[in-house]
């Protein structure tokens, strides 16, 4: 072994940058959340401005808190801990900075494009294809920097936090690439490569694993580093942490289909999803116990140290949401909870509690170290802790009861066997008090976050003129592994095998380790995805289902642009109260031309899968102009701009062509889409005039959207499969 010792320093400047980004984007994301909470409590807060309306801002809120706030928090903690755990500076300062500025640029791009209505309509994957490519590039830069750092490490053993980072980096890359495969139809418009059931499957394989590998595994990595640091003792059980890691990697990836119970997804897939989700409960609680018991013998410190308070409640919230999650994935519970606010309560336990509080605790711990000045005020940190915890409690309790209330009202029947609340809006009105409590809870959380920002800002103000850069020394790794502390090798082959020396060897071999993670993720994903994709019997075709006409296709794109799917589902489940309320349940074969699928995940408004023909065209026009003029108490935003804006008929051809590339049989529409669209628009315009509405609507965007809505659910009514849609007959 060499006696040579390297002297080096850690790059904390990059950690400071990510820390500020976390704080700033956190505030932006929370405020966006507050605005959309207000919009649901009173639609006046949509301000009749297209880019401020609920459907456009809801994705902005989710993207801001997930990728901007939580994302930057992960990078803050990962850049700090990775260098120290591996005893080396990051592989390349240039890549670190590229990662930082690239990621912020992506966030800014998202903050501009989402309110403008550029969206792929897939939850947490809304960003359009040019931004998706940028994300992939920045992520690869991060991965190179990260793996390069591992390669240059001076500590042979790779601590469990780093494994969690590795699994996150790899899996997020795979998820992002496969879910976003699409065919562009212009710079800011694309159609998913997949359709209907497959697209839904891909999306929730992605969506669930985004929760797993963006909001769970990296934060567990942070927990396994910062909790021992703050408690000043090692993690309760290292064995348990290994177990936690492998079970999570093995099980999570299978759980996605639980988002699609009772939908047109094949039954075996959703049962599989349920099974694995229930199994996840065990390791998750193992992890929670491991985190909390790290405080063994140090519980008294919790009373004095706000950092530990934040960690304890964060880890408890992790435990609560990982108990609730498996429960929600049980089909019978899901039948009640799906499409309701219960799910919103569930994610906010996770996001506000687990991700939010863990981040705050981590930043309070880091700030004095990074800014080399004592924390401005511990008392303010305490105040933040109590306000935030109380805010979470209000939020979750209110929205949880809103969810249960609405779920029960939807399924209630009266003595005569009819729906007890046939008027959908009645079930919405019932939620209003709870929606206002949510506004209060959210406001408290934001007040806490402002106190936090102020506290960190004041700490920063007290920083020294120039930061001291401490030099660290450590011997380089010898080229050949030498076990410095050989454990006695147990006698007997089995005992040797089970002494887990083999696992230690893997841990020292990051490449093999990474390959194992990739194999685990890919095998599970393929096992789920291949059958739905490629076995025909899983998606029986229906002869009467035809592609959308060119006009309906643009109408559908407007539906996507306005984010209607954030409030409306298009998926009637085969449950009696649903078929009673909305009509025939949805079949897999109905969606074969839906690129992307628009099943939705939350019913703030009624399901629209069977809305075609329910109302005259004029009704829809008036409804878009001012929903409350037709339905008193409606909380749907008005869409006057759709009535004012001219429809871009010439742009239709590119859209149809992109669909044709995806294999949608468009027949004669291939060459004359705009003409066909004009003809159909004239029909709609004429019917509006006939009904007593204003003339001139046939050139406006609204006719396309009306044409689309009037088509929904129609195909399945065409017995015998006689073609109906003009212009779309293959």
């Amino acid at each position: 072994m060499s006696t040579h010792v390297d002297t080096f320093s850690y790059d904390d400047a990059i950690v400071r940058k990510f820390l500020w980004a976390t704080i700033i984007w956190g505030l932006v994301g929370f405020l966006a959340g507050l605005l959309i909470a207000l919009q649901l409590a009173n639609p006046i807060f949509n301000f009749d401005i297209s880019w401020l309306s609920f459907g456009r801002l809801r994705p902005l809120h989710t993207n801001a808190v997930i990728f901007a706030f939580a994302g930057n928090a992960i990078f803050t903690g990962a850049y700090y801990s990775t260098q120290r755990l591996l005893k080396t500076r990051m592989f390349s300062d240039g890549l670190s900075n590229f990662h930082f500025w690239g990621w912020q640029a992506i966030i800014v791009a998202a903050a501009i494009t989402l309110p403008l209505g550029f969206t792929q309509a897939k939850e947490y994957a809304e960003l359009e294809w040019p931004i998706d490519i940028a994300i992939a590039v920045v992520w690869v830069a991060f991965a190179i920097n990260f793996f390069g750092t591992i390669a240059r490490r001076r500590e042979r053993h790779i601590y469990v936090a780093i494994w969690f980072y590795i699994a996150s980096i790899i899996t997020v890359a795979i998820l992002h690439i496969f879910n976003n495969l699409s065919v562009p139809a212009g710079l800011f418009k694309s159609y998913s490569l997949y359709a209907g059931v497959q697209d839904a499957f891909m999306q929730w394989w992605y969506g669930h694993n985004a929760v797993a590998f963006f909001l769970t595994t990296p934060f567990l990595g942070l927990m396994y580093y910062f909790m021992p640091k703050a408690a000043e003792r090692p993690v309760f059980s290292y064995k348990l942490s290994i177990l936690h890691f492998w079970t999570i990697v093995f099980l999570y990836i299978w759980a996605g289909p639980h988002h699609l119970h009772y939908t047109a997804l094949p039954d075996w897939a959703s049962t599989l999803g349920m099974l694995f989700s229930v199994m996840l409960w065990m390791p998750s609680w193992g992890g929670m116990v491991n985190g909390l018991l790290t405080l063994r013998g140090a519980w008294h410190k919790v009373t004095e140290e706000p950092v530990l308070k934040f960690f304890v409640v964060a880890i408890t919230a992790y435990g609560m949401s990982t108990f609730e999650g498996p429960m929600l994935s049980v089909k019978s519970v899901n039948a009640l909870a799906h499409y309701t606010d219960w799910i919103i309560a569930h994610v906010h336990t996770g996001a506000l509690g687990w991700n939010g509080l863990l981040t705050f605790g981590m930043v309070y711990w880091l700030a004095p170290r990074l800014f080399q000045a004592p924390l401005h005020s511990k008392k303010l940190a305490e105040v933040h802790f109590w306000i935030a915890s109380f805010g979470i409690l209000l939020y979750v309790a209110a929205i949880y009861s809103a969810g249960i209330t609405q779920g029960l009202m939807w399924r209630a029947f009266d003595e005569t066997g009819r729906l007890a609340y046939p008027d959908f809006v009645e079930t919405v009105m019932q939620l209003m008090p709870m929606y206002w409590v949510r506004v209060v809870g959210g406001t408290l959380y934001i007040v806490g976050a402002c106190i936090f920002a102020y506290n960190i800002f004041r700490t920063w103000q007290a920083r020294p003129k120039t930061y001291e850069v401490p030099m660290v020394s450590a011997p380089p790794l010898p080229a050949v592994y030498v076990d410095e502390h050989p454990a006695p090798v147990p006698a007997g082959a089995i005992a040797r095998f089970t002494s887990a020396g083999w696992h230690r060897r893997w841990e020292r071999l990051p490449t093999l380790f990474t390959v194992m993670v990739v194999v685990a993720v890919v095998v599970a994903s393929l096992a789920e995805i291949i059958p739905t994709f490629l076995i025909k019997s899983n998606v029986p075709t229906i002869a009467s289902v035809r592609p959308y006409t060119p006009l309906e296709l643009v109408g559908r794109d407007l539906y996507i642009r306005e984010g209607c799917f954030n409030c409306h589902s298009q998926m009637v489940r085969p449950l009696r109260h649903e078929t009673e309320r909305f009509g025939e349940y949805s079949k897999p074969g109905e969606f074969v031309y839906d690129h992307p699928f628009l099943w939705g995940s939350r019913r703030i408004g009624p399901d629209l899968a069977r809305v075609g023909g329910k109302y005259p065209d004029l009704w829809h026009l008036r409804h878009f102009e001012e929903p409350t003029s037709l339905v008193q108490n409606s909380i749907m935003p008005g869409y006057r701009h759709l009535v004012e804006r001219e429809l871009d008929f010439d742009g239709i051809q590119a859209r149809v062509d992109a669909m044709v590339m995806l294999g949608v049989p468009y027949g004669e529409a291939v060459r004359n889409a705009p003409e066909l669209a004009r003809a159909q628009a004239n029909d709609v315009g004429a019917r509006i005039v006939e009904g007593g509405g204003q003339a001139g609507m046939e050139t406006r965007e609204v006719v396309a959207l009306i044409a689309y809505l009037q088509r929904l659910g129609k195909d399945i009514q065409q017995a015998g499969g006689v073609a109906a849609a003009p212009g779309a007959t293959p």
Binding site: L370, Q372, K378, A500, G501, V523, A527, F533
Partner: protein, 66 residues
């Protein structure tokens, strides 16, 4: 012939079940190995890694004026 036709003809429907079995097998093995006795000392050392960072950049961290 479309990709779907090729794949449906190739009898891949067993793939899900085979993968599932492989998976459960691998998983159970990992669990058994981790829980097996004999690795305590190595794990104890590994678990102390976050605490051996001897760059202490925090002046009076924890001491407070608030």
């Amino acid at each position: 012939m479309k990709l779907v036709d090729v794949m449906s003809a190739s009898g891949l429907s067993m793939y899900a079940i085979v993968a599932l079995l492989l998976f459960v097998g691998a998983f159970v093995t990992v669990v058994i190995l981790i829980l097996a006795p004999g690795s305590a000392e190595r794990h104890r050392r590994a678990s102390r890694l976050p605490l051996d960072d001897d760059s202490r950049p925090a002046p009076q961290a924890g001491s407070d004026n608030g």
